[in-house]
Symmetry: C3
Subunit: 262 residues, 3 copies
């Protein structure tokens, strides 16, 4: 298992690609996380457009450079909205990210829907340990959006999920673990305040789609998105007094990152 | 009438209970207030999950430690979504909070729906003076989400509402008034910037459900949530230049509060 | 073409009118932008109420002092919700603002709906160059919410749109251009971080409705809203480290503005 952090060359190059192309990232997400996720994408140089616009879902998922589907978007969107987006991304070859929020929390139809979306072959799957564990077929103790299983427990299951679906699978935790089924990359860093700010997971999903949308290869793109958020969190903490100013400082640091080669 | 403020022992104990148990708070709220409300709950140590997930409303209201229903959630949710959540909370014995947003603003079907929800016996009702006045059967001059009646005018009506419904009733204002129909507790503090930041009322509803969810008795839990927000607002003001940094500083102060006994 | 900036007398007077009357601004907007837009309206002294409350849309659009309809609200609202609001505002004589988000991005039914709303005679239309270009009948290269046409290219088309619809038309850009079809006013200022914070365009739509709602004549009100946001952005930048603290500082500056005559 290798360890990758900012400013490793692959991460820096992936950010350079985002800032050079300002890729359009189309997302179906939810009203708790959308503002932070949109601002995170803008901060690194991407261009976000969110929401199930009537008549526009397939179009936006087709013309976008990357798509992310957060299953908590179902609080306002329909199953068909998400199916339409996933299918359009799949058919157009747009890389897309599945964020399996609330999977494994005991809602059978929700879990079944997540399993169905796997057939449309997400480019990446990003969740906390409980969600990935549940999606991979293990038991879960999640109570909604919380991570209660440890990262380590799920790396093997994540790799199996990656091999089965063809997706790069990322498990967020104190140390993030990212795998394509063969290789496993660890991304340390971050900060204890990160899980105490709502929507940082969704922001990571949006960043992942943005890095994929800039043309970087899947494993490197997913790793880069995680490494960028981790370093931004580390750098934000000294500028913050608590979780409120930490959220603003996190966006600051994302907006201040520049590729090493510039 | 007694007066309670941070760090009175009951308030400190109620916060200690939240931080010891990290209760799951399930909320149906709206896209204006959700981010601040979720971050306020996370800041004090709770665990928020929001939104009308298909097939998940009754489940989440049942497994949650506390539930809050903000009537402005009707801008994206249905009457049945809220009925389902209130009924599940009622049947499971989950304490739940009704935030009667926009009641009394002249929308008859909205006011009727609020009255209907009272039959499912909220543990607490929290609103501004106009909303509580309208819910209690008085006239109202509210123009939506504004407080235009004074707190003092409605204390008697609030106590009558508490006796009729069995709920603890909280009226937000310059000095908050909280009553179980017998006792009336005043919670002073706060700051003039508080009503100039959107969603602070909804955040208070979410905090109230979180403190109830940690097992503190209803009157003490509702008072504690109000006292905690009031002291956080007072402490935030010196760190802020205007209403924008005040919102971030408010979350900071919520995240920095520690029970006196620790 | 004249140039207007804060603290020109007309802008200062328009802000004084807002702060004297605290007008109710009713908006249909979306879950990405609502928090910032609501906070911007509150910061200048207005009173926001957002969302398609069942049975309340026509009522709120009628009793409000100003209305703004952001077409991205269609991610949760229906065409009929927006029609109802626009028609009620039109019939009640409530000034209303159309923000043609995503028009010209290649979604035919969306563009057709925007054209239909023009028949209900918005008081003001506010968008970026691509959106106004598309609404005015020109070609567009928009990829969603981005501005890719220059402001200058569209001033002539904006003036023609203003003459055709009777609306004041505002085109946001490095220098904003605002026209009633005869006169063209330039509003310079702002900051490069402004388009890198999500929802600043929507906030401008909300501020425009708020300034109209305070009774200032349309051209002056639209110009004032743009000048106020521009000066707030300029003043915010020195207090910010990046785009996160810039968003908070922007609200600070809006909340600190006082009319020159006070």
């Amino acid at each position: 298992m290798s360890t990758v952090t900012w400013p490793d060359q692959t991460v820096s190059d992936a950010l350079a690609a985002v800032q050079a192309t300002s890729p359009l990232t189309y997302g179906l997400t939810n009203y708790i996380s959308a503002p932070l996720a949109a601002n995170a994408i803008l901060a690194v140089g991407g261009s976000p457009a969110f929401g199930a616009l009537p008549g526009g879902i397939a179009h936006l998922a087709t013309i976008a450079s990357g798509v992310f589907l957060n299953l908590a978007s179902l609080i306002t969107d329909t199953y068909d909205d998400l199916r339409t987006a996933a299918r359009a991304a799949h058919d157009a070859g747009t890389p897309w990210v599945l964020d399996p929020v609330v999977v494994g929390a005991g809602i059978a139809q929700h879990d079944a829907f997540a399993a169905e979306l796997l057939e449309l072959r997400p480019t990446a799957i990003r969740g906390n340990a409980s969600e990935v564990l549940a999606l991979a077929g293990g038991a879960s103790t999640s109570k909604g959006v919380d991570a209660t299983a440890s990262t380590e427990e799920v790396v093997d299951l994540a790799a199996a999920l990656a091999r089965r679906t063809g997706a790069v699978v990322a498990v967020s935790g104190e140390v993030d673990r990212i795998t394509d089924g063969t290789e496993v990359v660890a991304v340390p860093g971050g900060h204890p305040w990160l899980p105490r700010v709502t929507a940082t997971g969704c922001a990571l999903g949006g960043l992942t789609a943005t890095f994929l949308g800039a043309g970087t290869a899947p494993l490197q793109a997913v790793v880069a998105a995680h490494a960028v958020l981790a370093v931004a969190a580390e750098r934000a903490a000294p500028h913050a007094r608590g979780t409120g100013t930490f959220a603003a400082a996190l966006l600051d640091e994302l907006s201040l990152l520049r590729p090493a080669s510039q």
